[in-house]
């Protein structure tokens, strides 16, 4: 197990370097960070040249990248457009987005898996067809449409929750945004669980369990669910990264000051350190989540052992 973890961590290094360099390249080579500092005014050439020198923008790109990585590993992510350090922006933004992601994942697990189990065990029945149709509709309607519609419905018409979230973003205000963020993945979790359950209900070990006369509850939870959840766990694990990235839309709809919001501001103002810094952390989260999923396999399925 230990050796497997080390090998996986080593394999992550080239992927991490590649992904961050790609983002770095997009921001620094395709955009112009100096012009962005001046907004709509044209910068004075001498000043611009001096700033370019100070920011090492005249060096070759790989040199800039190395310098940037060196700074990151000493905890210096640079300065955002408003003069705040990027690290302090992260300090306020990440807890909010992590709370939002947790709410979304809880929705995925509770609603998605429950619906998946119900439909998987009643294949072809009206419940099954109805839920399947519903998941297709949820997948087809883009998040930004469902977001606005649900916000209008629950926030404005019914007044069940506040239509926008306060800067502190406590858990209770994040329930609706979390549901909106989760919806599409929730539909996928339902479909995945359904397929997996339906496949395993025909398995030999399940017939054995029934033949032994085990109580139904125990068959479903210990035998059926444990075997069927493996692909679902993979999906939810890799989804963590997508949820944190996808929060850019949800956070904009509900005015949540999280990672997506800061990232969007950074992009609008062409502030390279904010964008590259946040994306670097998100890539890291994504890679670690994938590793965690692989390790969870061994816990869920004793047949898988890592040497």
């Amino acid at each position: 197990m230990g050796r497997y973890v080390i090998r996986r961590l080593l394999q992550m290094i080239p992927v991490f370097i590649g992904s961050t360099f790609l983002i770095f390249f997009m921001v620094y080579a395709l955009g112009d960070p100096v012009a962005a500092l001046f907004g709509d005014r044209a910068p004075d050439p001498a000043t611009a040249a001096q700033i370019r020198n100070e920011l090492h923008l005249n060096d070759p790109l790989w040199k800039q990248y190395l310098l940037y990585m060196k700074n990151i590993f000493s905890g210096d992510f640079g300065t955002a457009f408003n003069g705040q350090s990027v690290t302090s922006l992260m300090g306020s933004a990440f807890p909010v987005t992590i709370r939002l992601t947790i709410v979304a994942i809880i929705f995925e697990i509770i609603i998605g898996i429950t619906l998946g189990v119900i439909t998987g065990m009643r294949r072809g029945k009206p419940v099954d067809t109805g839920v399947l149709l519903l998941t297709l509709i949820v997948i087809s309607v883009p998040t930004f449409v469902t977001g606005y519609v649900l916000q209008y419905l629950f926030g404005v018409q019914l007044k069940w929750t506040a239509p926008s979230v306060s800067p502190e973003a406590p858990f209770n205000e994040l329930i609706l945004p979390g549901l909106v963020l989760a919806l599409v993945s929730l539909a996928y979790v339902t479909r995945l669980t359904r397929t997996s359950i339906a496949e395993n209900t025909r398995a030999d070990y399940l017939r054995t369990a029934v033949a032994k006369g085990l109580p139904r509850r125990r068959i479903i939870i210990r035998h059926l669910l444990r075997n069927s959840l493996i692909p679902v766990v993979t999906f939810i694990g890799t989804d963590v990264g997508f949820l944190m990235g996808g929060a850019i839309v949800t956070e904009r709809i509900f005015n949540i000051h999280g990672v997506g919001f800061q990232l969007y501001q950074g992009i609008l103002r062409n502030n390279a350190p904010t964008v590259v810094g946040f994306v670097t952390i998100l890539v890291l989260v994504f890679l670690l989540a994938n590793l965690l999923v692989d390790l969870l396999y061994a816990v869920l399925d004793p047949r898988i052992r890592y040497a």
């Binding site: 992927v15 590649g18 997009m26 955009g31 997948i139 519609v149 990235g245 992009i267 998100l282």
Partner: protein, 310 residues
């Protein structure tokens, strides 16, 4: 749907007489290929007809929007701002006083173009690279797997916002290029897996023993048998790419006005949802129906090509 499974499996089994011996060759249908079999299944699936009709209609109005929308989507009169649906203008007017019906019809073209261009690009790039990696293995496979890992490390929406914000004034070609750039690794993985399965088959070995070269093996023997998952994935992806384009336009980095796009219209309508919900309803409905049609078609094709997956 599940009751069709048995029929499809039975179709693959040659009919036998009572005592279990196979009937002589000429008394049963000519052996059906996977594709004739799939087509046979599809023709009996109402979902296939409904989704195809919707898609054909979409393609029709994107080629010739003037056929059903007689007003110019860019000819707007502020006096009509936010006016609701009426007899002459079924979908009402938007914030700028443009006819929502006309904008919704004309918006189809951009969505369909982005969807088609990026799907064709992703399918070509992904299946060629993934197919070659799966067939030859070795260092090519190792490099390709690492490269696709790198692209996988970047969530597509994040990458889209970063990449497209660097280009002022997004166009159909720029948005499609980006989707191809970040979308191909997923298809490459699917194609790679399919090719690896296909190349282990006996008929490939037989062709090799008969002296077939790499080109012939790949094109004549492996490609036709590895194509099914690629087609299924591409159909569904077309819908999600259209949705992605709308999301990017909504965020202000995809297509830009004066381009007519459902994403742009939804974005501007969302600010006025409390006063004039009809402005959001129609473009959002058109977008959702389009995406749904492609997903349903993909589902139907998958059911026909691979009854096991149901």
């Amino acid at each position: 749907m599940p009751e069709n499974t048995d029929a499809a499996i039975l179709d693959g089994v040659p009919p036998t007489t009572q005592d279990g011996t196979a009937l002589p060759q000429d008394t049963r249908d000519k052996a059906r290929s996977l594709w004739t079999d799939a087509w046979y299944d599809l023709r009996r699936n109402p979902v296939f007809y409904i989704s195809s009709l919707v898609i054909l209609f979409l393609v029709f109005i994107s080629i010739w929007p003037g056929a059903i929308a007689h007003t110019d989507p860019l000819q707007c009169d502020l006096i009509n701002s936010q006016n609701g649906p009426s007899g002459g203008h079924w979908f009402g007017f938007d914030q700028q006083g443009c006819d929502v019906y006309s904008r919704t019809v004309h918006g189809a073209r951009n969505s369909v173009e982005v969807g088609l261009l990026s799907t064709v690009g992703v399918a070509l790039l992904g299946s060629v690279l993934g197919g070659l990696a799966g067939y030859f293995g070795g260092w090519l496979d190792a490099i390709l797997s690492r490269v696709s890992d790198i692209f996988f490390g970047i969530p597509i929406l994040l990458g889209g916002v970063v990449f497209l914000s660097a280009f002022k004034g997004g166009s159909v070609s720029i948005v499609s290029t980006f989707i191809i750039l970040l979308g191909w690794p997923q298809l490459a993985r699917i194609a790679r897996g399919a090719v690896i399965t296909a190349k282990e088959q006996d008929y490939v070995l037989a062709a090799k023993a008969l002296g077939a070269g790499h080109g012939r093996l790949l094109l004549r023997h492996i490609a036709p048998n590895a194509l099914a998952p690629v087609i299924v994935w591409s159909t569904i992806a077309l819908g999600t790419f259209i949705s992605l384009e709308a999301t990017l336009s909504f965020l202000g980095v995809g297509l830009k006005p004066p381009a007519v796009s459902w994403g742009i219209d939804i974005s501007s309508a969302s600010e006025q949802i409390r006063n004039a919900p009809h402005m959001l309803l129609f473009p959002a409905g058109a977008l959702s129906i389009t995406v749904l049609a492609f997903i349903l078609l993909g589902d139907a094709v998958r059911d026909a090509l691979d009854p096991k997956l149901r």
